[in-house]
């Protein structure tokens, strides 16, 4: 596919204006290595878009540049977690899933469902799943701060009344149990599989994501599954957590 050269040039100009404020057209052209006329047209475009302003012939960035970052501007799953998820999937063969929560839902961000020969029902990336009835959702809730846990439970109780009736009222005790053992274990809705999930923690000990594995109930008993699968899951979650910390990400 043919790339659009003026896009790259325009963003090069914007980076130069970011790097040093109050440069004039000649200085910016020189720094980017473009003719003055080309730089001028790119600067006009950036100015009209509200990203730079010209004062006395010199340019500086405006608050508008925050609209190009400061939102979803760190694809940490693609940058860090995918590799760990793939390696873990290759090692233990059962399908691995990495999830985050957004408001009161769990969102699948990465998995090995299409690579594992032991996947019963593949889950599409981006699928939203319930919080209170899944191992990953319960882990994310259990490892939230107390105030966040309370707010999320209020939200989930109102939006998932049936699940709340079964669990919501007693979740504080459930959360304590999950935190004590460090993982959660829940049978999937089809009744034929069980999911084990552990948290990916930040430096405050709060969950930023959950790493889970699903296995067939006929393959092993729950205590054997915990013994065989949890250490590998926790190693993977620790690795993701360490790499996130090392990256200095502002994530969550």
């Amino acid at each position: 596919m043919v790339l659009v050269e003026s896009v790259c040039r325009g963003l090069d100009v914007l980076r130069v204006v970011n790097a040093q404020a109050d440069q004039n057209l000649s200085e910016i052209s020189c720094a980017v290595g473009l003719p003055r006329g080309t730089s001028y047209r790119l600067l006009i475009t950036l100015e009209a878009a509200g990203l730079v302003e010209r004062i006395d012939g010199c340019y500086r960035v405006t608050q508008g540049v925050c609209g190009l970052s400061h939102g979803f501007d760190d694809d940490w799953v693609g940058g860090i977690a995918n590799t760990v998820v793939r390696e873990l999937g290759a090692k233990i063969h059962w399908p691995i899933t990495l999830s985050e929560h957004y408001a009161g839902h769990v969102v699948v961000r990465a998995n090995t469902d299409m690579e594992s020969s032991m996947t019963l029902e593949p889950v599409r990336i981006g699928t939203r799943i319930a919080m209170l009835s899944t191992a990953s959702g319960r882990v994310l809730l259990a490892y939230a701060s107390p105030t966040k846990q309370r707010s999320l439970l209020e939200y989930v109780k109102a939006s998932e009344p049936s699940a709340a009736a079964r669990l919501g009222e007693h979740f504080v005790e459930v959360a304590a149990m999950i935190r004590t053992r460090g993982y959660d274990i829940v049978t999937t809705p089809n009744g034929r599989q069980t999911a084990l999930s552990v948290p990916v923690l930040n430096d405050e000990g709060l969950a930023v994501a959950a790493l889970a594995v699903r296995y067939f109930n006929t393959a092993m008993a729950p205590d054997e599954a915990v013994r065989r699968l949890i250490p590998a899951l926790q190693t993977g979650a620790d690795q993701i957590g360490r790499e996130l910390l090392a990256r200095g990400s502002m994530l969550h």
Partner: protein
């Protein structure tokens, strides 16, 4: 600068629009991007591929979606926010967000534009769609607009009314609001002392931050989910927001004009009179 429109570089305009939208969503495929930008899908894809080549976005093999990378921060790191935002508002929002949980924003009237000055979306997992600082919001259908048009001084109300009449029709049409709906919402905000708007995907609440007798800015909270999910909890959120707004007002006064510190109370508020 408007006279120079013919010299503008169209592809760069489009790339900027695409980067802005990517910051709002946690991953978009080319078709979704085409729909949101109004660009033909091949055009959107070509620009996304160009941004990918430059390292600004990355495409996930798993879901085919494009997402921004850390490199986009190079496009904004030269911006230094105003003193009151960096010294007071942003640390305040970070601190208070740990308690209030739902995403918070400070909105201020600049001329005739309502601008999101600072917000906690960047690190929040409580919304599906994030906003960014510097974004201009509707002067008709947003809770902060209703608050300013209800409680602001005459000059503030006039500025917003002119802007709303001249430029905000597209917002009203997009949200299906009539002029009467806007008038009713402003009246509710005037009676209640705060503004509340239920959108399809989220509920937005704005309370005033008074510095002296002036409406200095609005403190806003957005609650993801349909109206029914939050309706029983709104009272508690509003009370917490008012407490936070008082705290913010005192902190702003310490920077803006210390002589006004004793005048921060603003009009009395009756939270029980909520009229959704």
């Amino acid at each position: 600068m408007s006279g120079d429109v013919r010299y503008r570089v169209r592809a760069l305009d489009r790339a900027i629009a695409i980067l802005r939208i990517l910051n709002q969503y946690n991953g978009l495929n080319p078709s979704e991007m085409s729909r949101l930008t109004g660009l033909p899908r091949p055009t959107a894809l070509r620009i996304l591929m160009t941004l990918g080549e430059g390292g600004y976005v990355v495409r996930s093999e798993a879901d085919g979606c494009f997402r921004s990378t850390l490199k986009v921060r190079e496009l904004s790191r030269g911006y230094t926010e105003e003193d009151w935002l960096g010294a007071i508002v942003r640390p305040f929002l970070t601190r208070i967000a740990a308690t209030l949980i739902w995403p918070l924003a400070v909105v201020r009237l600049r001329g005739s534009r309502l601008v999101v000055e600072a917000l906690t979306d960047h690190t929040s997992q409580m919304l599906w769609q994030r906003e960014t600082p510097g974004r201009e919001i509707s002067t008709s259908v947003s809770a902060s607009a209703h608050l300013y048009r209800a409680l602001g001084d005459e000059a503030q109300r006039d500025a917003l009314l002119d802007h709303a009449l001249a430029q905000d029709k597209a917002y009203r049409d997009a949200y299906g609001w009539t002029d009467g709906d806007v008038t009713d919402a402003i009246e509710r905000a005037r009676v209640n002392g705060f503004a509340l708007v239920h959108h399809a995907a989220y509920t937005s609440v704005s309370v005033p931050v008074w510095v002296g007798a002036a409406l200095y800015c609005a403190l806003n909270m957005r609650l993801q989910g349909p109206k029914e999910v939050h309706v029983d909890l709104i009272d508690g959120h509003v009370r917490a927001l008012f407490d936070a707004a008082d705290e913010l007002a005192h902190e702003i006064v310490s920077v803006v004009d210390p002589s006004l510190a004793h005048e921060c109370a603003g009009p009395a508020i009756q939270v029980a009179e909520i009229a959704p």
